[in-house]
């Protein structure tokens, strides 16, 4: 950013601190990407203005800049992420319960009726998940009691890898001090949100409680990685196992199993154990476990191995890099 900060804010060099602040606020209002998510140019304008404001808001820095001791360049901010970049992304915990998961919870048959009803009731889903259907109906009617659904609550928790893969029940401590039992379904993904009906805030006047939405973060496992429904591991093998093949034990999410290493296996080769992956919640089918082999040398190259290799090389040398042209 080499732009003149005064120009970026649209003020004169003689502007007062108050004028600078006012100019910045005006630009920020119009151009803050999070307040103007549909404006594609907003980010560039906002970044220029905030870099300029960062420099000019501090009288001492401003004086140094005016004297030419520092330039605007030094004021560049580290790469910044705006909330709007996450807001529409899958697994945004702050969208849970606000219709993020498509039209989750609505029967497809009732989809349009549901949206139109919301409108007719003056946007019954108000602040914080809001007053339920009963609000419009009961409040508007004659001689009725006031009844409202409780607000929805949102929480986030991290669970061990295995709990997410195999399912478990854990307990979350609420900011209010209480606890909530959360059933983690088998095959839960990182960033997935679980809805607990009726576990949100209490209703008013006999109205039903709101829902609790718990976003799950999955803790990485030292051995297993996950790619959709497949489990990935790297399995170290010895050189003799690589050359001669054989059966070795490999960990799976169900415990160790024997796998057959083919004769002449290479590092990077992938073996597939069908049905040893994660259960897909929709299809009920399990993914695979993929085992990437990695040949590990013995801790010490002894003389016997060395002399054998020297002999072997004389007659059987090969070039695995053949055809590798740069």
């Amino acid at each position: 950013m080499t732009m003149d900060p005064y120009e970026a804010l649209g003020v004169k060099k003689t502007a007062t601190d108050a004028e600078i602040k006012k100019a910045y606020r005006k630009i920020a209002k119009e151009s803050h990407p999070d307040l103007n998510p549909d404006d594609k140019e907003a980010e560039a304008r906002f970044k220029a203005a905030s870099a300029a404001y960062d420099l000019l808001k501090d009288p001492e820095q401003r004086a140094r800049f005016d004297r030419g001791e520092i330039d605007a360049q030094g004021q560049e901010r580290p790469e910044r992420h705006f909330y709007r970049d996450f807001a529409g992304a899958e697994g945004n915990p702050y969208q849970a319960g606000r219709g993020f998961e498509g039209f989750g919870g609505i029967d497809p048959e009732d989809l349009f009726a549901d949206i139109l009803r919301q409108r007719a009731q003056g946007g019954a889903h108000g602040f914080g998940g809001g007053f339920g259907d009963e609000y419009g109906r009961d409040f508007g009617g004659a001689r009725t009691t006031f009844k409202a659904r409780g607000p929805d609550m949102r929480y986030s928790m991290e669970v061990p890898f295995m709990d997410a893969v195999k399912g478990a029940t854990t307990r979350i401590t609420l900011p209010t001090g209480g606890t909530l039992d959360v059933k983690i379904p088998e095959g839960t993904k990182d960033g997935q949100t679980i809805r607990l009906r009726g576990k949100g805030g209490p209703g008013i006047g006999g109205g039903p409680a709101g829902d609790a939405y718990v976003t799950i973060g999955v803790k990485p496992h030292p051995l297993f990685r996950r790619e959709e429904d497949d489990i990935l591991i790297t399995l170290p093998i010895s050189i003799d196992e690589a050359v001669l093949g054989g059966k070795v034990e490999a960990p799976t999410i169900d415990g160790p199993v024997k796998v057959t290493i083919p004769k002449g296996a290479s590092s990077g080769q992938v073996l597939r154990l069908r049905g040893r992956g994660v259960k897909n919640r929709r299809t009920g089918k399990r993914g695979d476990q993929k085992i990437e082999l990695r040949i590990v040398m013995p801790p010490k190259i002894d003389e016997e191995l060395e002399s054998f290799m020297k002999e072997w090389r004389k007659k059987h040398a090969y070039n695995p890099r053949k055809g590798m042209k740069t």
Partner: protein, 116 residues
Amino acid sequence: MKQRYFEKDVIEAIELLTPGRLERFVKMQVISPMQTDEGPAYRDVDLARLELMCELSEHFGMEEDALEIVMSLIDQMHALRNRLRLMARAIEAEPEEVRLRIARFICEGNEPPPEQ
């Protein structure tokens, strides 16, 4: 696994954020860190959200009660945008005739489209 930040990392990363402010935001439940064995952990989305909240309170002098309302409105706006996007995608997949009828209805106002 995405990046995780603990309280001190978050305070360090966001210039305008103080420990007191963070604590209040969490208590207000406008920010909900992930509960982990090592204490509350924040994700990139939390950082972006915190930065926005700090700017609103610092640069616009927004009180925290008002901030809570604004954040809720922003969340609702994004939820609506997501719904709208899904709806647009669904309409895009329809035959041209249907798309045009819907477009005409939206552009021309609130008269329901004529029965075919």
